[in-house]
Amino acid sequence: MSENDSIVAETAARIFTDLADPQTINAAKDAAWKAPLWSALEESGLTLAWVPDTLGGAGAGVGDGFEVILVAGKFAAPVPIAETLLAGWLLSQAGISSPAGMMTLAPMRRGDRIALNDDGTLTGRARGVAYAGDAAHVAVLAHGGKGAAVALVETKAARIAERRGIAGDTVYELTFENTKPVLVADTPAGLDQQAVMLMGAAVRSLATAGALSEILDISVKYAGERVAFEKTISKFQAVQHNLARLAGESAAANAAATSAADAIAQEEGRPAALTSPGIYLEVAAARIRSAEAATEGSGIAHQVHGAIGYTKEHILHRFTRALLTWRDDFGNESQWAVELGSKVAAAGADDLWPLVASR
């Protein structure tokens, strides 16, 4: 799944290169860059790649959508491309058409549950809902008397609390109090909170892999330019070995995330397939390992850059802060590790190797 594999990935790369240059965005005084970028993404159909054309989307393959995520990760552009893709996927599973514009989804934290009340309204709290301030609509996975349901909600219908996040962005908490959705529909078999967490975790893992490959590029380039002690710092073995470690972390995240995305794509994103033991292992492992790589890798990239990488002026922080933020979405690595470890333990010692070897 390299970025040159498909027209979709090429299109995404072209749009981001033209309209989401990290240097330009980093230096921008306002958010004027955002509207042209979003309309280009929307017009190309990329934002609704996971929505069939019968429901207002582009009807692209599941693998195509994942390629868009990987490319978007390389730019770490602060627009809700991943969230809109996921919201579109969630809505279309329940047969709900996707509205135009930016979307986000809830819940994005493992422990948050939103109830579907008997009167069709929603009640509950969703923390860390990315881009809730930008998105006009939020796709909600709710739980009612008959099981899980999907709701399309106008973001303004929910109460929004804000705080500042790691990435210098705003982190939103949505509270639904008998909130009336635009539409509610039953979910197909297998589409539950766990399936949403799995799909979201795969998406964040892939974006993480993309951003790590970018900070590797940036760091290698910088080490080749920066002169200290009368030579470029790339000539120092200590720096070379740090960059080799960063390459290893980037490679591990890439391998785990592309493998998980491939596993999901082979099942065409069917919710019921997501929770099978094999795909579960792939996604949980990708989430855990890519988050570990984000922690380790962003630290190395900053170390290579020295003080300049710690300035607002330099683009490095756009990627490292995004990497560190994404670790918390759709379950952090500790939560996934506890769940994965519990499953492995419950299956027993003799099933450990067969599980690993099954992928």
Partner: protein, 390 residues
Amino acid sequence: MTTALNFDPIRLPKECEELRKEVRAFIKAEIAAGTWDPNAVGRDDAFNYEFARKVGEKGWIGLTWPKKYGGHERTFLERYVVTEEFRVANAPTRVFFTADRQSGPTLIKYANEDIKMDILPRICRGECCFGIGMSEPNSGSDLFAARTKATKVDGGYLINGSKIWTSNAHRADYLIALFRTSQPTKENRRHGLTSFLVDMKNTKGITCNPIIQLSGMHEFNEVVFEDAFMPDSHLLGEIDGAWKQATSELAYERSGPERFLETFQVMIELVRVLGEKPDARGAEGLGRLVAQLHTLRRMSVSVNGMLQAGKEPVVEGSVVKDLGTIWEQKLPHKVREIAAFVEPEDVANRVAFEEQLAFATTIAPKLTIQGGTTEVLRGIIAAGLGLRGR
């Protein structure tokens, strides 16, 4: 232009899973017959010729090699499955492992036809053990500092000097070794080494001295050459140009599942002592280990897919070995921490766990040294990033 390495999500094809079933059934039957105990640690019975013969009969040695040399012309991915199943079951593969992984492929590429027809079928039958003669007392990671000398005489070469840390040498039928045929040049310090096939059983002037490792096991040896004669026909590849040959071998040597599964048993025993419902601390520790192992394995499978496609993924292979060996080196220490508060009721489980943990702990230090140190690997990766020359 991107410097990041891609590891495409290669899937093991259906024929691999069929083969896996066969290998598992064979392993199960052999364990039941008492051929080896998968839970025994630190044993010296890994040189099992009877087992090697049976594996040869199954057609699982030289799996990827041409049929005319006794091979089976199957894929690297099929070989991968056999290798990992044997490793996880702790099977006694020492007779054929090195020959199958790298000596055989080197002979196929560089030996003359008579040697290939003579030796390769014997490897495939499980009758022929190989070792690798690279390190010397003053030349370890700095391979090209080797000084053991090959002096041209009528019909061949006389070898003088010594190799060290040579695994298997005390049992091996052959070594593939590097000897100095010329001095290095100013332009190329790697120049002047030549690769030879050494007949360990039929050559006068070779002495093998055992070196016991800290784990108590005997794999290492010092091999001393005193006017040992190598016929011209045993020269492998280009005179003075072994360095060109050595690098392409590395992708085979470094990317395999044996690079992170040498002490896998300790993970199995960890699951056993944790029980069905570990607390969050135990579950998180185990979950992370499983996630990390899965990732390593997917990377390793991907590299073998690259080999199958005819590529030479030397940098990717180095990444797998670097991450894999560092992971496995930390494994016993993490396992120890994860199990710190666990009190298994079953005494047998506890003893088995503690034995595996002690074994893995004593094995750990060597993992990042054998077959290319961490420092050498990171140098190769840095070169792949364009930071230095190769």
